[in-house]
Symmetry: C2
Subunit: 133 residues, 2 copies
């Protein structure tokens, strides 16, 4: 598949694809006789993986760290698997933070009429994350 096809398949600009390759997020893509990129199935999988994780808010920096480790040779399948698990744990941590914020907003909503806004209460509501009414 050429860059145009990939760009359309993933709804990513060609510039972004070239940029990701340039900074080492994507592996060096093979070129055909006239120097044009030819994306393999594996390349496609990487594009997909990176897009999903980017959309989930992972920074390019941590993704580069991940792919470098993942692609490194002195590295067993067990290690690769544990890298995926680490990646997932990171996201789970993030979700917990957001859930905390949602609970805090729920507290504010539920108590909207019944209490005066005091900073100490707000702070406690956020930190304890009780859904007291």
């Amino acid at each position: 598949m050429n860059i145009n096809a990939i760009s359309k398949e993933f709804n990513l600009s060609k510039d972004t694809l070239r940029y990701w390759e340039r900074i080492g997020l994507l592996p060096k893509i093979k070129r055909n006789s006239s120097g044009y990129r030819e994306y393999s199935e594996t390349d496609k999988n990487w594009v997909f993986y990176i897009q999903v994780l980017r959309n989930a808010g992972m920074t390019i920096e941590s993704l580069i760290e991940f792919v470098d480790l993942y692609r490194s040779d002195n590295n067993t399948n067990e290690t690769r698997k544990s890298l995926l698990i680490e990646q997932r744990d990171l996201l789970e941590q993030e979700i917990k933070e957001r859930q905390k914020t949602i609970n805090y907003l729920s507290y504010k909503i539920n108590n909207y009429d019944s209490h005066t806004l005091k900073y100490e209460n707000e702070k406690l509501a956020y930190e304890n994350n009780k859904e007291e009414k």
Copy 2:
């Protein structure tokens, strides 16, 4: 409370506090006789609220939109409450996206040994979000 106290309380740089005020994220803070900022309890609540939502990944742009509406005069308590609910819904949508990514990673982890990486499978795993083994 002066800017130094707020800065320490929320672990935010003074520059950030001044910046938030300048762009209208925080209301205009009252000044004392020599022009120094004096943060009221209400101001403090705004700092807290904005920090929590920023940490949850909300952009400054949408926060400004929110605070402008929220502070607007022609605006009932009911409207304010529904703005909070909207805010919460936005975050919940975000969490769902991330949960999808976590499920996708789980799929990859669970099937790490047992399947060859095919793009169509990956894509389906992400979109359907089944945890098939």
